[in-house]
């Protein structure tokens, strides 16, 4: 197999020796990971390898037990999702993290509601019309046709909900966007739209981290592939220099340790 690349210079966001245990389960056992500017990085690994845990740590949702996180080379502590947001990091969570009783626009603007101008704004009045108009634009870009923008998200299909979550992250990310299996529930056309979106995001100089079990998709879009196994990163490949067999070998442990 190709040798793992050395630790990188010029990484935008990196994890060094990050650890996280849930009771007896050691979800992450000294994991390294890096996100480079303007690249699409695929994070692959078997079920339970620790991918989602790593993403949650880097988006401030879960606190690590140990290790270091650096942003633009400086050590940082991401105490909360707000800290990650301030760094320009947005996440599409595997469980989507949507408020099912609110409509798509409300979800898109959750936690950053558009406030009405003037006195009403000072009193905390929200501008539902403006939010709805901007949300409709975002959704159209992703090619979902939400016939009823007033329907609560819980009424939407699984794929439509996933697209709402993807639009939300894409709307707000300015530096990095994590996507934890963003196409798992999507039809062929919608999945293709998400891949298009990822390309466009990369084109605008932002970084994308894509978690996916769909290796053909990964090879279609990723610049770099990082493999997680049993809570450790076991390999980093450039996507154009590696075969699918090698990646699978690293994921399952068939290669390398043998």
């Amino acid at each position: 197999m190709s040798p793992a690349l050395p630790a990188t210079d010029g990484a935008l966001l990196e994890a060094r020796g990050v650890e996280k245990s849930y009771g007896h389960v050691r979800a992450l056992q000294g994991t390294d990971f890096e996100v480079r500017p303007g690249e699409v990085t695929a994070l692959v690994g078997d079920n339970g390898a620790g991918k989602s845990t790593l993403i949650k740590i880097l988006s401030g949702t879960v606190q690590p037990d140990g290790g270091e996180i650096r942003f633009e080379g400086h050590p940082v502590t991401i105490h909360s999702p707000l800290d990650a947001r301030r760094m320009g990091v947005e996440t599409v969570y595997q469980d989507l993290a949507l408020a099912e009783d609110l409509d798509p626009a409300a979800n898109l603007f959750l936690g950053r509601e558009v406030i009405r101008p003037g006195l009403l704004g000072a009193l905390g009045f929200i501008d539902k019309r403006a939010m709805r108009a901007r949300a409709a634009e975002s959704f159209a870009t992703l090619g979902i046709d939400l016939q009823d923008m007033d329907a609560e998200v819980g009424m939407l299909s699984g794929g439509q909900r996933q697209t709402v979550a993807v639009s939300r992250a894409a709307t707000w990310a300015s530096r990095v966007i994590f996507m934890d299996e963003p196409t798992a529930a999507l039809g062929v056309v919608q999945a293709e739209r998400v891949l298009d979106l990822i390309r466009r995001i990369r084109g605008s100089g932002k970084s994308v981290v894509l978690i996916s079990h769909n290796l053909p998709q990964v090879f279609q879009i990723a610049d770099r592939i990082q493999v997680l196994r049993l809570g450790r990163r076991v390999a980093v490949f450039r996507a154009d220099e590696v075969s699918m067999e090698e990646v699978v070998g690293a994921m399952t442990g068939a290669a390398g340790e043998a």
Binding site: P81, T91, Y93, A97, L102, L110, G111, R112, A136, D150
Partner: protein
């Protein structure tokens, strides 16, 4: 290249089509809302009572009394709407109401029971007492993650015990300034509209605005819908919950003070079921006990259905105990409708 053009074109089409289609789903949603149905139930009840005894039931005198009687429950129920939309519950409101009354009454009596200064001091005492219990509830629920049912059951007992300790178990009398009683207590604007009703209406409208038009309301729904999603969206869930329970305590204090003004004495024994009445009103009005769904309008309807049933039964000479039976049935019906809707959604 052409690909980048496509989404924009679609966005324009979507928004044009969206405006034409907007009306129809809204009507549907209105028709499907529990509060709409429950409002029709209220209209039917009023129609039936009016037909059976128009003179007695539909008189200004009678309707005014219904509204006066309902005003303090309405205030407590508006706050309870917020609490239940966060998927919480506040069992302590009745005891907190009584505690606030006792503190305010003792203070006003000690100050001489007359004059504007005393009136304002009493108001401050009642609202601050209520607020303090509410904050305690909120902090315990938000920070320790104990179930709201247990926390507020605990503070229910504590507030009630404290009120009895302070008052010696006897209602505090000769404490309420006459000026307060004749204005807020039993006075009427232009000789027609009782101030109690005006105050309750004002609080209800403010509550409705807060819930439906502001960021605070939006976050209330989000937290009840999916607290983890709210947290990940950067909402300070603990702080928001504390505010919601604080509001519940505060308004219980306000309601206690208004009752003090109306009856000129504390009502220590009168609030054993205020919590359940408020919860029933909120739930009858279509607010979901699972959180995330509800309206202030529904709560208003939910307050008036039991109130009008009781009044109508009395006028018609039906055993008033039937009111409890009827309200219980309406309550179960409302929860059943909520359940059906949730199941329909899970299938979707």
């Amino acid at each position: 290249m052409g690909r980048d053009g496509t989404p924009v074109g679609q966005a324009e089409q979507a928004s044009v089509a969206g405006e034409e289609q907007e009306i129809r789903p809204r009507l549907w949603r209105l028709a499907a809302a529990t509060s709409t149905w429950i409002f029709l139930v209220l209209v039917v009840i009023i129609a039936v009572f009016s037909i059976m005894n128009f003179e007695a039931f539909a008189s200004v005198f009678n309707l005014r009394n219904i509204m006066i009687d309902a005003s303090s429950l309405l205030i407590v129920a508006v706050a309870m709407t917020f609490v239940i939309i966060t998927a919480g519950i506040d069992l302590s409101v009745g005891s907190v109401l009584v505690f606030s009354q006792v503190v305010a009454a003792l203070l006003m009596r000690a100050m001489g029971a007359e004059g504007l200064g005393v009136i304002l001091a009493g108001l401050a005492a009642a609202t601050v007492s209520g607020l303090a219990w509410g904050v305690l509830n909120g902090v315990l629920i938000a920070k320790t993650r104990m179930p709201a049912l247990i926390v507020t059951l605990g503070t229910l007992g504590m507030a009630q015990g404290a009120a009895l300790l302070l008052s010696g178990g006897i209602n505090v009398r000769r404490a309420v300034p006459a000026e307060l009683v004749t204005t807020v207590g039993i006075g009427r604007l232009f000789g027609e509209i009782p101030y109690l009703v005006l105050i309750a209406t004002g609080i209800t409208i403010l509550g409705g605005i807060l819930l439906h038009l502001t960021r605070f309301g939006r976050h209330t729904y989000a937290i009840g819908s999916n607290p983890e999603a709210a947290r990940r969206a950067g909402i300070n869930v603990s702080r928001h919950l504390i505010k919601v329970y604080a509001m519940s305590g505060f308004l219980a204090g306000v309601a206690g003070y208004l009752l003090l003004a109306r009856f000129t004495t504390t009502t220590i024994e009168g609030h054993g079921t205020t919590n359940l009445q408020a919860i029933a009103a909120v739930v009858i009005g279509g607010t979901s006990l699972f959180g995330g769904i509800g309206t202030v309008f529904g709560t208003v309807v939910g307050v008036f259905i039991p109130a009008i049933l009781r009044n109508g039964f009395i006028i018609l000479g039906v055993e008033p105990f039937w009111q409890q039976v009827a309200v219980g049935a309406v309550l179960i019906l409302a929860v059943y409708v909520d359940q059906l809707k949730r199941r329909a959604r899970e299938r979707a």
